[in-house]
Symmetry: D2
Subunit: 435 residues, 4 copies
Amino acid sequence: MTDFFKGIEPVKYEGPETTNPLAYRHYNPDEVILGKRMEDHLRFAVAYWHSFAWEGTDPFGGRTFERPWFDGGMDAATVKADVAFDLFALLGVPFFCFHDADVRPEGESFAESKSRLDAIADVFEKKMAETGVKLLWGTANLSSNRRFMSGAATNPDPDVFAYTAATIKANMDVTMRLGGANYVLWGGREGYETLLNTRLGQELDQMARMLSMVVDYKHKIGFKGTILVEPKPQEPTKHQYDYDVATVYGFLRRYGLEDEVKVNIEVGHAFLAGHTFEHELALAAALGIFGSIDMNRNDYQSGWDTDQFPNNAQETTLAYYHILKAGGFGTGGTNFDSKLRRQSVDPVDLLHGHIGGMDTCARGLKAAAAIIEDGTYDAFLNERYKDWQGAEAQAMLKGDRSLEEIAARVEHEGINPPLRSGRQEFLENLINRFV
Amino acid sequence: MTDFFKGIEPVKYEGPETTNPLAYRHYNPDEVILGKRMEDHLRFAVAYWHSFAWEGTDPFGGRTFERPWFDGGMDAATVKADVAFDLFALLGVPFFCFHDADVRPEGESFAESKSRLDAIADVFEKKMAETGVKLLWGTANLSSNRRFMSGAATNPDPDVFAYTAATIKANMDVTMRLGGANYVLWGGREGYETLLNTRLGQELDQMARMLSMVVDYKHKIGFKGTILVEPKPQEPTKHQYDYDVATVYGFLRRYGLEDEVKVNIEVGHAFLAGHTFEHELALAAALGIFGSIDMNRNDYQSGWDTDQFPNNAQETTLAYYHILKAGGFGTGGTNFDSKLRRQSVDPVDLLHGHIGGMDTCARGLKAAAAIIEDGTYDAFLNERYKDWQGAEAQAMLKGDRSLEEIAARVEHEGINPPLRSGRQEFLENLINRFV
Amino acid sequence: MTDFFKGIEPVKYEGPETTNPLAYRHYNPDEVILGKRMEDHLRFAVAYWHSFAWEGTDPFGGRTFERPWFDGGMDAATVKADVAFDLFALLGVPFFCFHDADVRPEGESFAESKSRLDAIADVFEKKMAETGVKLLWGTANLSSNRRFMSGAATNPDPDVFAYTAATIKANMDVTMRLGGANYVLWGGREGYETLLNTRLGQELDQMARMLSMVVDYKHKIGFKGTILVEPKPQEPTKHQYDYDVATVYGFLRRYGLEDEVKVNIEVGHAFLAGHTFEHELALAAALGIFGSIDMNRNDYQSGWDTDQFPNNAQETTLAYYHILKAGGFGTGGTNFDSKLRRQSVDPVDLLHGHIGGMDTCARGLKAAAAIIEDGTYDAFLNERYKDWQGAEAQAMLKGDRSLEEIAARVEHEGINPPLRSGRQEFLENLINRFV
Amino acid sequence: MTDFFKGIEPVKYEGPETTNPLAYRHYNPDEVILGKRMEDHLRFAVAYWHSFAWEGTDPFGGRTFERPWFDGGMDAATVKADVAFDLFALLGVPFFCFHDADVRPEGESFAESKSRLDAIADVFEKKMAETGVKLLWGTANLSSNRRFMSGAATNPDPDVFAYTAATIKANMDVTMRLGGANYVLWGGREGYETLLNTRLGQELDQMARMLSMVVDYKHKIGFKGTILVEPKPQEPTKHQYDYDVATVYGFLRRYGLEDEVKVNIEVGHAFLAGHTFEHELALAAALGIFGSIDMNRNDYQSGWDTDQFPNNAQETTLAYYHILKAGGFGTGGTNFDSKLRRQSVDPVDLLHGHIGGMDTCARGLKAAAAIIEDGTYDAFLNERYKDWQGAEAQAMLKGDRSLEEIAARVEHEGINPPLRSGRQEFLENLINRFV
């Protein structure tokens, strides 16, 4: 262990009654929920970037955090890796996630950047072996460097497209080497600042081409993980092409990629797109593209990405209900793409943030499982839709009736359907019984 | 003419300098723009519902308008039709739009409602022949009656689905008879109030089935118009399935309907979905599903549908630029799905609203045409993307290069693309030169 | 009892483990919290309008509810009152609230409307005596009737101002007679649809004049209750003059009314103004104008007033914490200005809505009390600000130091303050320990 | 001249027909509008920070601009000043604005920072004398340095309060020396990230104390300019204490500062607070606290501060109408607190941004003046409110009638006011006649 977290002991489960702020009150990795260990359900991952690379800046202020690895070169990057694995160990999380720009300083050339990434991957490989921590996913940072200011794959300059392709390949290679369970693409700059300077159709074609090459390369190298796209509606650009789950689905269909690519859904991105998180989860499940989640909420009244740790068990209950109904995570997991508030300058704050987030998720998982085990809720849904099981209803739904046949029946039978209560208040109370 | 608009003369074009508030300052139907009459470009339509059926209510207050046809039966419906065609004539618009619930009182049974609709269609047929006013589109109101409170096609009760099918058929029949240029579906209640009581996947399948039957029926009866879906993100329901253009596109692709159905894009709905109107236009054009528009803006700071007449020429300029670049309207047109403010209680206010809206559109059309004729703007766009015309760039875009080939070239050539200004401020100024 | 709620028994407290959806799981009126009965802390009131007068309409659809008193005259109004008091009794709430337009049909003239109000007040008086249910507050509906379309007190027509004054007087008289604990003014139409037709300064003066007359009249008749203004930012008008707590405070100060008038804060209105509910509560307390609450939340992603029952205990915890710290309600209470969803058409849904809301509040009250009794949280706050207790800090704060004296000290002492963590994540976890 | 803007000639007025993108099409400084030179009406100022200190970063990406003065010390600061005055000269603007952190690198101690500020002020003094460019306002940056992360005047640490006081004094001294027309306070960190760690009442008292000391010091040193507070609702903090004009007014009244302090209103901040810019202008005028403006708009669909140059003449028309009606600027002016888009990396983009912004303002000013000279609009407003000039109406407004007297009259006279159209559409068209 480094002395960055000096004096902090590994976080243990102490149960709901503990007053120890550095203990889990709900996350108990070995507890069995619906026949599976809690750890295996939740598959928590710490995000390298927000926890170790972010400096506490915001658009109106500079760095607030003091970390020994800031402003350093490759040596500092190694120190950073040491501290990161210290945190993983203290928390007892099974996974982490990273992108290249977090883990190594940018080089003078593409080749140098790549060789630095490979060098850090060596460090990771050793630490992963020592600690048993695994890689949930790798990704390429295609948004921070100014070369991507007008887009990465969607840049008007084909050289930036090429640079993007090379960067993704390097990150896929490292993800493969480290046994990553998924590879993620977040289109940070894939969108536009102003439609005035943008050929939308051309840029969508470019984006699709890149994604197709990624899928081809995955198969070529035998990567078994899932390729994930992460939707977000806006910020940093005014409009992002991967707006939300429905938009990504339409894009995948258009370019024939819907069987190859799934989505990594972030709570806050769902919110900024005008949706609830559970909507995006349920929709992705219905469309067959649910992959993984970034479990960081957004302030309800801030119009930018606030990336906060989850802290409301009601919300996580609804989320894990839909995840459980979708069959749980396959290769995916619960990543905390969450950052500390910039005033939370102490190392211990990294513990508070993750402990609170993990406990809130654990609470939600347990409540969701209880809802399913209780069965009242699912029975309500069955009852609500049960008339669609009737023969004539099935005939309509399956396409065995035409508009004019149905119209004739309505007129002939004088159909005038009675009202049935939607029972929203009852259902809200029912769910709250388990939260 | 009835005496509802007594004292108001037909509105004439008097040019930008007129101070007559009941004259057009910009809309000059016979003026030729880019080789086509302005009227034929804009294809204006008055919406029956907001102009003649809406009573001036809002969620916090009752009827403010006093119209002789309110609270009446079929006789009143005929008076309403007379006044409506008076307005069409005064304005000199070539089109109108309606849905069943605007034009006839609801009957006791489906059959009675239908026969009333047919009776009003007789009235319309005669008036259309007399005045030369045409039908831009017909549609069914599947949101106002309480039977649709839990959805129309997406209702948990298959009898409501059936009732919906019958209602759509009746409206398609009338639209066909009246020579409508399009038939529109707006999913007012196709969505959910709470995901808690909703099976999203089931409901999407129901909605697709209905749309498929509509397309089949169109072909069966030989309707030559376009089937249009109108996106809207929320309100009346918390979530609507036809959220925005991208969502509708994904839905159409999923169910194989993308060559049969286009979109009717509303300014205010685009805004409520987090997009600019021009974004939705450009996207629909790129996806090949652009159909028609509802030219009513939303207040920028109100989170509900305010349905106001357009009044900002800069916005209409950008809109008609994209419409012109998409080849203009085919069967579509510029419908004013706009309502008066509820304090605008006088008949003359209907004139002010439409005159202002039409002038704002005409101003935008002329500016858009000027931008195209000038050519500076399109030349800028060509220049910005010109490197994609290079051989290697085309090879990448067409799929003739793999990720690893491109990566090798980046490394080998030491590619490090320079920054190029996006010129947003220049472009904004350039556009303003024509507004 | 009428047979409207036939088969429904009075709602009892059965504890958290009950599966009876028509029992309280957390609201136990006689349970003592911080030395006071829960009922006396919470002071629940049912709102007459949403529960008995609202018809299930929305801007896109008509009435969904079927109530025997709709469309009737004074007889129906009496039936409505009977059913209302049945609900109060079933729920066991100590209070109700009403405005004139809910309780009696509008008359042909002001005099007739007033005499109908008086007649219903007779009914109420008798029922209140029988049941022990009390009036939390009365108010006048100055938004629904079309005469108020351009404002009530702020109307450009002084006759509407006069009509408003007369209406308020009638409602104050009835509130006084029924022993109301408060009188509320909600400026439903006090604002503007467009600044273009509005003299903002003139209208603010009109509004202040009305409020001053209300205060004078209160003293004249010896009304002992509190005069409350209810802030709301927008809807029905684009801009409302009583935007939020800070705005109302500035208004009261400007016209010298800050010691006479307090605020009735609604959860959803706070949200629509860009604030959390707890912000508005804490601010009102700091400014000395905290009065009462309307405990209905807004959907986070809908931009209009959704008026939903509270269902998130974390939110009610923060609210009651600030209410308890402000000394609790004086004359105020917890009114549910909540309406059922329009699909909740059954009488029993009124029970589900209120039971869920009351339980969520009770849960929040208990958690807030536990936070206070635990003391960790308040100790944290004391510690965070403790340096302001120092002599030099107090001298600065009290005005005993000038800018230049302080500047000289900074320079002389080389002051360079160290960073201290704001501990947001720790605090969020701490609060969650009690939710 | 430095060679930063090499090849760019001073910008001249060439009239609306010019196609030269580096000429003014509407801004003609010497043109007389309503009896005053356009330059004296508009009083344009360039903001030092966005134009010279901002690096093109956003929360997801680093510096895009390359400026020779980045990363340098005092020498670089002097180069920056040279280039800044080059831009002022090229544009022909009469004013600039700055805060300390823009113009000099932070020192190791307060004393060093202050002496560097003084040294740059020497440079400015000389350049101002040479060019005739004047200082519209100075201000202190109390948000960027991490010492202010938990607030400046509102910090829980009184040492930060002291440091803030010293910093403000230094900036006021420099502003005084340079003949600044105003001194501005923007409470960048005066607010909270979470109410959980905040004593709102205590912090408001701290903020008031600081402002009182500023006012005292102004009088002590004989500064003749205006003290201005700049409202903003949120960002960087979740809640900012200077939320909007109404909030600032209430704050000033509470602490007796309403005659000493005015507001500097920013377009984008108004928008983020849920208001139109013209609302904030009209309200400030009505409350007697209108001071100056920051003329940078916000994207309508982005929830963070986008600080864009104005480009919509309709909006600037409404703004300058209210400014003209308020008597025009006194000591205030039109500051562009606008930044280039981060893709606008070339020096010439600084010209495009300012030219477009200035032309848009000039266009608005001319339209607003035309509206006033035409008189139709003001006559409409007079007519709408004219009944308030009647004797009985005045008696009500002035406080000579009580609630019961008015009520008696309503009942006695059977008052039942008729509806009058609010004419919103007519007015929107009328305004557009001049845009």
